[in-house]
């Protein structure tokens, strides 16, 4: 019998990130194979509030580790503490956010554990945990088992419905930070230039309006009214980001964010393999493109062949007609 450990994630302002709830969901789904319970670890400089929040999800324990050096996340400071606690567990999981992706392989290496990244499902087979992973830009799914005593994984946020609070109150346990190696003294957090937005987070939005290279310098001018009308988050293709029309954290795709909203509106996006990998899980896909042969149309539920600079304002006007 073994237990699972969920590594929680805090935002820069110290609040619990909702993405953590996907890792909890993952841990719960892995428990039938492990046979044990799950606990949660939260690290930061002031974990009291998020720990209290996490105590209502049915965890056997919520471990906290508070230290001024943990105020800003760096893998070099976080990994030793996570790895030390991991030794009591059979499986350690975080959500595949930019922090989860950065931290968990480093943790795995520290305890010589095998690692399954960005899993889209987890199941039990003959008492073993089986990890399902998208590979080749989502064109194949691989099912793998990890043969090390401790296993490490990250969960793809869009594939795991956030766990719901189950009431009760898990016991808290404080941990001292484990002294890091030499690497930690050689890395320094300088700054975080946050992209400020009143819109929902891309990975949590139920509607996304996404723009491609065709938008040019009018990316925001054209797309914001539509995003406003739909209450949507804004996304972008790589080409739009590379050209500087949209910020980097807008990028949807194989190597950007993976999203699965109920509505994804792709505007002036051709539908390259790498882009599709990040959005094909969307419930309904709309594409607006002037090229009737654009590959995005093969995927779209509703394709509109049109010049976006005319079609988007017309769409905004049409939406406004409905919702006065």
């Amino acid at each position: 019998m073994a237990d699972a450990l969920v590594v929680a994630e805090l935002a820069e302002d110290g609040k619990l990130k909702k993405s953590t709830l996907s890792a909890i969901a993952f841990a719960k789904q892995a428990l039938p194979a492990l046979g044990g319970s799950f606990s949660i670890l939260v690290l930061g400089s002031n974990t009291a509030q998020p720990a209290a929040e996490l105590a209502s999800y049915g965890a056997a324990k919520v471990y906290t580790c508070d230290d001024p050096s943990l105020a800003h996340y760096t893998a070099e400071h976080y990994a030793p503490t996570v790895a030390e606690l991991a030794k009591k567990f059979g499986l350690v999981v975080a959500t595949a956010t930019s922090i989860g992706k950065d931290l968990m392989p480093r943790v795995a290496a520290r305890i010589d554990a095998a690692f399954a990244s960005d899993c889209s499902a987890v199941s039990a087979e003959g008492g073993k945990v089986v990890y399902k992973r998208p590979m080749f830009a989502g064109n194949a799914y691989g099912y793998c088992q990890l043969a090390t005593p401790i296993q490490v994984a990250t969960a793809r946020q869009s594939e795991f419905e956030p766990a719901a609070p189950s009431g009760g109150s898990s016991p808290l346990e404080k941990l001292a930070k484990v002294a890091p190696g030499a690497a930690a003294s050689r890395v320094e957090f300088v700054s975080l230039e946050a992209v400020k937005s009143e819109r929902p987070e891309l990975t949590e939005a139920s509607v996304i309006v996404s723009g491609g290279r065709a938008l040019k310098e009018k990316f925001f001018e054209v797309l914001e009214p539509l995003a406003d009308a739909l209450g949507a988050a804004l996304g972008a293709s790589r080409a739009a980001v590379d050209a500087g029309y949209a910020p980097g954290d807008f990028q949807v795709g194989q190597t950007g964010k993976v999203v699965a909203p109920s509505l994804y509106v792709a505007i002036g996006i051709s539908g390259a393999i790498q882009h599709i990998a990040g959005m094909k899980g969307s419930k309904v896909i709309v594409a607006i493109n002037k090229d009737p042969e654009a590959p995005i149309f093969q995927l779209a539920d509703y394709g509109l062949v049109a010049d976006l600079f005319q079609a988007v304002p017309a769409l905004v006007a049409e939406l406004k007609k409905r919702k006065p």
Binding site: A75, E76, L103, V130, L192, L263, F297, G303, V305
Partner: protein, 275 residues
């Protein structure tokens, strides 16, 4: 500065939708697809070249760039291409993809790092066949190196690098003292994303990676290429990640068209009920 760049060859990522699943679902079959250098590794090489030159005089290498791959003999074309583009030396560790998982690749690369003692290890953030995104982070831990993953910008300072990383909420800047490890993201090959200490502040590179001129391709054949065996680098090299099954994802049934925006809104509201 001495830079070690890890390169992997992958089945042509622009045709990844043509991968097949072998009968019985036991393997991914990429026959018919060309081998290409993992795009992120091409970018890592470009970043390594930019860090070891003055942008104005790219033919003059200031320092050394060593490339390494863990792959079968045919992958030497990948290494020769890197040598033609500007790398000085290459190392190939003999192994097939089936012999490897992220843990073993990192262990093998650690022994290369121990022997070569580079100031900087540069690699791709992920190999786009397995989409695993783990080797760099593992290697940094094994070598106790500070790391900056998903780098979009690198600026060399005295004995350190200032690295801009693309993270979920924006751009996070870290300073890592050398020796260090950096994994690169797409934007690292933009015109003003990498500055060595020699390159002037206003300098602009061409967008993307550089290409090898024909004479360099000939000359690259004479550059040193060492071959090592995986067993010599990692004792008892045993896989710990076992794939038991592969399958194709379900296909979407798309292809529907609407004639104008009012039909679109009508469908979204009354058929799909998403607005």
């Amino acid at each position: 500065m001495k830079v070690l760049v890890a390169l992997k060859r992958v089945a042509d990522p622009d045709n990844a939708n043509k991968v097949k699943i072998a009968a019985g679902g036991t393997a991914v079959d990429t026959t018919g697809l060309e081998w290409k250098t993992n795009p992120f590794d091409d970018y890592a090489l470009e970043a390594a070249l930019r860090l070891t030159e003055n942008g104005k005089t790219p033919k003059k290498r200031e320092g050394e760039v060593v490339v390494v791959t863990i792959a079968p003999k045919e992958a030497e074309t990948t290494l020769r291409a890197a040598l033609a583009t500007g790398a000085d030396r290459a190392i190939r560790v003999e192994a097939t993809d089936g012999d490897l998982d992220g843990r073993l690749v990192a262990l093998a690369l650690k022994s290369i790092v121990d022997a070569e003692k580079p100031d900087l290890v540069l690699m791709g953030k992920q190999a786009v066949d397995g989409d695993s995104n783990q080797v760099g982070q593992r290697l940094a831990e094994l070598c106790d190196l500070p790391m900056a993953t998903f780098a979009a910008t690198i600026k060399e300072e005295n004995g350190a690098l200032l690295v801009g990383r693309e993270v979920d909420g924006g751009v996070l800047t870290l300073r890592v003292k050398l020796p260090a490890l950096v994994t690169v993201d797409l934007r690292i090959v933009s015109p003003t994303s990498v500055f060595s200490r020699l390159t002037e502040a206003g300098f602009k590179y061409n967008d993307g990676v550089r290409f090898a001129p024909l004479p360099a391709i000939m000359a690259a054949k004479k550059k040193p290429l060492d071959v090592k065996s995986l067993g010599d680098l990692v004792s008892g090299a045993q896989l710990s990640t076992h794939y038991t099954k592969f399958e194709r994802p379900p296909q979407r049934s798309g292809g529907g068209k609407v004639k104008d925006v009012s039909e679109l809104v009508e469908k979204l509201a009354n058929v799909s009920k998403v607005i």
